[in-house]
């Protein structure tokens, strides 16, 4: 059985359309997570000034990416505390190794919310921003 040239072209076109659709559906469903490093910060500046904004309306900032500069009040497991009331959690704990208590640093991270238990703002996926 031999196919005419016309039907061969038709099969190739249909097959490639199917492959393209399948690939785009796959890419849509399994698209990777957005990385903090690729997202533009909605606030860049001093950690203390930002806490004033948080006290006004904490909910507004949930799930936003921000860049904060402040003094390191303490070094914790998997993270640091800035200005006594912002806990920044790092995915990669080794990033905090070179940090020192009392020094000023800038971090970029994802706000998860205001934690009533510890009375502090909580960020995760934090990365150190080099000046």
């Amino acid at each position: 059985m031999s196919l005419s040239k016309k039907s061969k072209i038709r099969i190739v076109v249909i097959l490639s359309l199917l492959v393209i659709t399948a690939c785009s559906i796959y890419a849509y469903v399994f698209k990777p997570h957005d990385k903090v490093v690729d997202i533009t910060s909605e606030y860049i500046g001093s950690a203390n000034d930002f806490m004033v904004k948080i006290k006004e309306d904490a909910k507004l900032w949930n799930s936003k990416i921000v860049t904060l500069t402040g003094e390191i009040s303490s070094l914790e497991a998997n993270g640091i505390i800035l200005e006594n009331n912002i806990f920044c959690q790092f995915d990669n704990a080794s990033e905090t190794l070179n940090l020192q208590k009392g020094k000023t640093t800038t971090i970029k991270g994802h706000i998860i919310g205001y934690d009533d238990l510890f009375d502090e703002l909580k960020l995760n996926q934090c990365i150190i921003q080099l000046p």
Partner: protein
């Protein structure tokens, strides 16, 4: 009388030893065999445990991480409405708990779990163990989506289990 009560409360909070973590692990699973696994982990759970066994835990719904980001988006927007209800909390007590002479034992935990503004009483078992200044708490329990008014659209009903299994693993350190 009032001053006395206030004094009593203040002194209690001063003398009570506390253990805490900000980065506790809470996971859930609502997978159905043969379908894409429905599971996520939260590595940012805040937990405070007092030396007589009172426990308070809080996590943010949006900090649950799924393997598939689209699933995470749907979880936050369609299922949990995490903008309106950003937190889930647990307040309760570990029965017969005494941090001073603790090595490792199975315990019963009772308390109230609040998700999406709905409360539910939970009774479950777990294991606590103490190693130096660290107390580890492991437990798991199941809840139903309908207990918290979580509506599962009919399109995905077959792919998501009605019963949701929650596991937790908290490593608490002593608050100085």
């Amino acid at each position: 009388m009032r001053t006395l009560i206030i004094l009593l409360l203040v002194s209690q909070s001063i003398f009570a030893q506390k253990y805490f973590t900000r980065t506790g692990f809470t996971g859930f699973k609502a997978s159905v065999d043969a379908f894409e696994p429905v599971q996520a982990i939260n590595k940012s759970t805040s937990v405070i445990l007092t030396n007589d066994g009172k426990i308070a835990a809080q996590l943010f719904i949006s900090a649950f991480k799924f393997r598939v980001s689209l699933m995470q988006e749907h979880f936050n927007e369609n299922f949990m409405d995490s903008y309106e209800y950003p937190k889930a909390t647990f307040k309760g007590k570990i029965d017969d708990f005494d941090s001073s002479n603790l090595t490792s034992k199975d315990v019963t935990i009772k308390g109230v779990l609040t998700v999406k503004g709905k409360e539910k009483n939970i009774t479950t078992t777990g294991r606590v163990s103490k190693n130096g200044e660290t107390i580890r708490l492991n437990s798991s329990f199941s809840v139903l989506a309908k207990d918290f008014d979580i509506k599962i659209p009919s399109v995905v009903r077959r792919k998501i289990a009605r019963q949701i299994n929650i596991t937790l693993n908290y490593e608490l350190i002593e608050k100085k």
